[in-house]
């Protein structure tokens, strides 16, 4: 074959042609065209039987004078940009360049269609990886990036009173009522402050009263959140005072549900928990604060007492504010520190206590507070999804390497015929991008289905939307994946000379060693990723089991709980509440199968709890020791029997403690040990300071309580909750008789039967006192662990997919390696090797790959241990048992996956392989 291209290039000087604009015919194009023309004439002469020498001479005679030709060509083609832009020629050449890409796309499409196996496998693998990743990205986007759906959410800060030496488990989020006035006056860097808390109410819609959640907030709240009304108005300042606060603002959702989007409800009076309130406004749709289950807003009005010094440090509300434009958080912190100092000095009796407790006011972005529980799990899951994607891309890259080896001779021929390496590379890129684009489309569809999975981890949100950010990020990931695949495919192309490509034996030697090493590395990386994910999922599973098996101090089988809220208008006094309590408990205890029933101010595991300071008579705290604060629960007799908390000393509550003047007290072992480490707590006296003054000075007004019993420590907030470990104390319900309380009922009977009868029994006492949130204690336990359960499930899913993809990769690579070593196996068999010997060779290869993957994975697990540790319970991130089990399992499964190619290797036909050379 004569090289006409080189010949033309040699004779046609680039400089003899005028400088061309970007759209003009390029020198290379001219060279190529002339060369192909000469070659065509040469070829047809050869065909006619002329000798090679004659044909060649005749062909090159077609161009007698290169100088004249260059001159004529230059004259024929206009130079320069402006002229070209005007002529149709310019438009034509533009079409030519687009022509490149559209041709590449057509060729790639054809090539992929011919190799449907590869295309299908690649698209499916990428779809799985990109889909899972997109779903987690959507969750992260909705939850971590936009947790508050209000304008400028990053300027909203939460201020809270912290007592780190009393309870250092984590940051508290609440403040006391007097802080509202203080902060409005003293913190000038914050504009627009508000206080609020979550509340619930019963709205009578139709015949059935429905229990709905809402927010009680100062009138400034909705203004601060820049809420807009569709009808009516927001609250005015005057509605923040007692007596003028019978107003309510509904969310769009609630308005549609109750009143069918009737705009004339403004001004209507409705009954909320037995109180009359007037609807003053309907919020615009799309406004969401505090979770999708917040459906109404009522004004928060503090009593004078709540605003007084006596109520300082009785923290129960969330205090937020917007940072003024231009102000910095450091300025706000400084102002808060100054205010703290002012407050510490304000009440001299409290000062030492506050200093001991390490009191200060924290200020942090509200967004951080809102997501603090889900940030960890979601981030880990997203990383896991990304790892799965990487494993998938590695698989597709492996496949692409194999595919590109099969097309080597095709490329060699094209290169020899004048194609540029750039053209072929461009085709690889287009192929890679086509595959990844298809994978991304399928993946996004998959993500639409998968995105509901992490929903239970999300805070008060519906399924996260697949919005522009998610699509853009997925597209970026897809493009990256496509380019990775293209570059891996083109790697061998770049390093080989065209002649070498065309030879049959191109699959031996250094190049094939490089591609074998690439595939081996990919498999090891995949196995390592699968190992890490498996270990992570395994650890999460064990953590969950540990939590479920934890001795919570409660026996939850057969216990039904429910909540009750007595309407204020009909149960105005504590006596009314007590009366109802007694009557209802009598009725419930008579129900068949019930062994114990009681009322409590906070149902265990329901998320409600209150805490209070408790002090023991005669106990002198060490200097610097903070006050002791425990969970405070009011219970009727029968409570401990109902929830299954056992008695350690003394007695349970009984009828002696059923009146309002009772001074009985039961504490748990934690408190008992704290105050009386050596002796018996029973019989000793304790008291609860009702205001800050009483903390330090006991006087004749002190209300003394006597410890009548000590019970086991109970995890009232759930097995996973970071417990206030100082303990809990129980007071008789009859003393405070709150109108909001819960029932706990232990029974032999079937749970659903109990629930039905409970409802009927209470309805028979008072139709209008609704029972709600009826759940068994087992259900409450599961609910409290729901976030962890979801995390574990999703992590397991990712781990399984990664494992599967890795095994596919291992299988593919071993099969490829076997086919590469066919000749070697043929030789071995020819010189007397047994099939078992060959089998062993291949299995050993698989074993080495798997163990290498485990080793790398083990190293990665060790490196990531701290990130993982935060999500675990009762087990360390480097727990050797888990690592061992996963190592053995992964290796065993890998061995099984290696069997098929190994057995294929033993069936090598000696004669065929040796003859093939």
């Amino acid at each position: 074959m004569r090289d006409f291209t080189a010949y033309v290039r040699r004779h046609l000087q680039r400089s003899s042609l005028p400088a061309q604009g970007a759209r003009a015919r390029s020198y290379d194009d001219i060279v190529e065209e002339l060369a192909s023309e000469l070659e065509a004439r040469y070829a047809s002469r050869l065909q006619r039987g002329e000798s090679d020498e004659d044909a060649w001479r005749a062909a090159i005679a077609e161009i007698p004078s290169w100088l004249h030709l260059a001159r004529d060509l230059a004259a024929a083609m206009p130079a320069g940009g402006a002229h070209e832009r005007r002529t149709r020629f310019a438009r034509l050449t533009r079409a030519v360049s687009l022509d490149h890409w559209s041709r590449d796309i057509r060729m790639s499409w054809r090539s992929l269609r011919k190799d449907r196996g590869f295309a299908a496998a690649a698209v499916v693998t990428l779809a799985i990886g990109l889909g899972g990743h997109a779903a987690m990205l959507a969750a992260v986007n909705a939850t971590l990036l936009h947790p508050l759906n209000v304008p400028e959410p990053d300027r909203i800060y939460l201020m809270a009173n912290q007592y780190p030496r009393v309870d250092s488990s984590r940051l508290s989020g609440v403040s006391a009522a007097p802080d509202f006035d203080d902060r409005r006056v003293h913190i000038t860097t914050i504009e627009d402050q508000a206080m609020y808390n979550f509340t619930a109410g019963t709205i009578e819609s139709g015949s059935v009263p429905a229990r709905i959640r809402g927010i009680a907030g100062t009138p400034s709240l909705l203004r601060l959140l820049r809420a807009r009304v569709a009808y009516g108005r927001l609250f005015v300042e005057s509605e923040g005072t007692i007596g003028s606060d019978q107003a309510i603002v509904l969310t769009d959702g609630l308005w549609r549900e109750l009143y069918g989007a009737d705009p004339n409800v403004i001004g209507r009076v409705i009954r909320l928990s037995g109180r009359d309130v007037t609807i003053v406004g309907i919020l615009q749709p799309g406004f969401m604060f505090g979770g999708t289950d917040v459906r109404f807003y009522i004004p928060l009005a503090f009593t004078d007492r709540q605003r007084s010094d006596e109520a300082r440090h009785t923290n129960g509300w969330l205090s937020i504010g917007r940072l003024k434009p231009g102000a910095t958080i450091e300025q706000a912190r400084a102002e808060l520190a100054a205010l703290d100092q002012l407050n510490i000095d304000r009440l001299p009796q409290l000062k030492p206590l506050l200093l001991n407790a390490g009191y200060y006011t924290s200020i942090n972005p509200l967004q951080d507070f809102v997501v603090r529980d889900v940030r960890g799990p979601l981030t880990l899951l997203w990383v896991a999804a990304f790892v799965v994607l990487a494993v998938g891309v590695a698989n597709v890259a492996s496949l692409a390497v194999a595919r590109s080896r099969a097309r080597l001779s095709e490329f060699g021929t094209r290169l020899a015929l004048g194609a540029r390496r750039l053209d072929i590379l461009r085709q690889f890129i287009v192929e890679g991008l086509l595959v990844s684009a298809a994978g991304m489309s399928a993946g996004l569809l998959l993500a639409l289905w998968l995105r509901s999975l992490p929903a239970t981890i999300l805070i008060g949100r519906d399924t996260p939307p697949i919005d522009a950010l998610v699509v853009a990020a997925s597209a970026a990931a897809a493009v990256l994946a496509g380019l990775v695949i293209a570059s891996v495919s083109a790697f061998s192309l770049v390093t080989l000379a065209p002649g070498a490509l065309m030879q049959q034996g191109a699959h031996t030697g250094t190049r094939s060693r490089a591609s074998r090493a690439t595939r081996r590395t990919l498999v090891i990386a995949q196995m390592a990723c699968a190992f890490v994910l498996l270990v992570g999922a395994g650890l999460l599973w064990i953590s969950l089991r540990n939590l479920l098996a934890l001795d919570t101090g409660l026996r939850s089988e057969g216990v039904v709980t429910a909540n009750m809220s007595l309407p204020a208008t009909r149960y105005a006094t504590a006596d009314d509440a007590r009366g109802f309590a007694t009557r209802s408990l009598e009725t419930i205890r008579r129900l068949p199968g019930v062994t114990a029933a009681a009322i409590t101010s906070a149902v265990p595991l329901s998320g409600n709890y209150q805490s209070g300071i408790i002090m023991a008579e005669g106990y002198t705290p060490e200097p610097g020791e903070p006050v002791i604060s425990g969970i405070r629960v009011a219970v009727t007799p029968g409570y401990f029997e109902a929830v299954g908390t056992s008695l350690v000393a003394g007695r349970y509550f009984d009828d002696r403690d059923n009146d309002s003047a009772s001074t009985s007290l039961i504490i748990d072992e934690a408190l008992a040990r704290r105050f009386w480490p050596n002796g018996d707590a029973v019989g000793h006296r304790m008291f609860r300071p009702e205001n800050p003054r009483q903390i330090t000075s006991v006087d004749s007004n002190t209300r003394w309580l006597t410890v009548v019993g000590v019970v086991r420590f109970a995890k009232l907030r759930g097995p996973a909750a970071i417990e206030v470990t100082t303990g809990a104390f129980y007071l008789p319900y009859a003393v405070s008789a709150p109108r909001e309380f819960g029932y706990v009922v232990r029974s032999h009977a079937d749970n659903s039967a109990v629930i039905g009868e409970l409802r009927t029994a209470l309805a028979s006492i008072d139709r209008e006192a609704p029972l709600f949130d009826i759940r068994t204690l087992d259900e409450l336990t599961s609910l409290s662990l729901m976030s962890r359960t979801s995390t574990m499930r999703i992590a397991s899913m990712f781990a399984t997919v990664a494992l599967f993809l890795s095994l596919v990769g291992l299988y593919g690579t071993l099969a490829y390696l076997v086919s590469q070593r066919r000749r070697e196996f043929g030789v071995r068999v020819a010189v007397g090797g047994t099939p078992r010997h060959i089998l062993g060779l291949v299995l050993r290869e698989g074993l080495v790959l798997a163990l290498a993957g485990v080793a790398v994975g083990g190293g990665a697990t060790f490196a990531l241990r701290r990130a993982l540790a935060a999500q675990l319970f009762g087990i360390g991130p480097s727990d050797p048992r888990v690592l061992l089990i996963i190592t053995i399992s992964l290796t065993a499964i890998a061995m099984v996956a290696s069997l098929v190619p190994a057995r294929g290797a033993t069936r090598v036909d000696v004669m065929k392989t040796l003859k093939a050379d």
């Binding site: 015919r25 194009d29 190529e32 065209e33 002339l34 060369a35 192909s36 023309e37 000469l38 070659e39 065509a40 004439r41 047809s44 005679a61 077609e62 161009i63 007698p64 004078s65 004249h68 030709l69 004529d72 060509l73 004259a75 024929a76 083609m77 206009p78 002529t87 149709r88 020629f89 034509l92 079409a95 030519v96 022509d99 041709r103 060729m107 095709e410 021929t413 015929l417 004048g418 194609a419």
Partner: protein, 114 residues
Amino acid sequence: MNPPPEEHTLKKGTAELLVLAQLEDGARHGYDIALRIEQRSSGAVSFNVASLYPILYRLEAQGAISGWWVERAGQRRRRFYKLTAAGRKRLLQQRQVWSAFMVAVQRAAGLEYA
């Protein structure tokens, strides 16, 4: 071998017409165009690569023809040309011009038109 100068001048004038005419019934590549011209004129008129290509490029620059690359598996890529709408109009024009000219010359020089 260079053609005699008179023929060269005549050929120069009719070159565009000849090239355009070969593309009338379809797209062709350069070698094909040259081949057809040679065949249809029974060898009297022939273009070598050096003569043909400047004409092709000029025609393309003027928008009378449009060219594109075709790549077939296993073959070097070739450039094909086709007539554009403007090219067709030009072919028609050129034909009319040359016919009229031939008639005029015939009359003036006393030729018999074969």
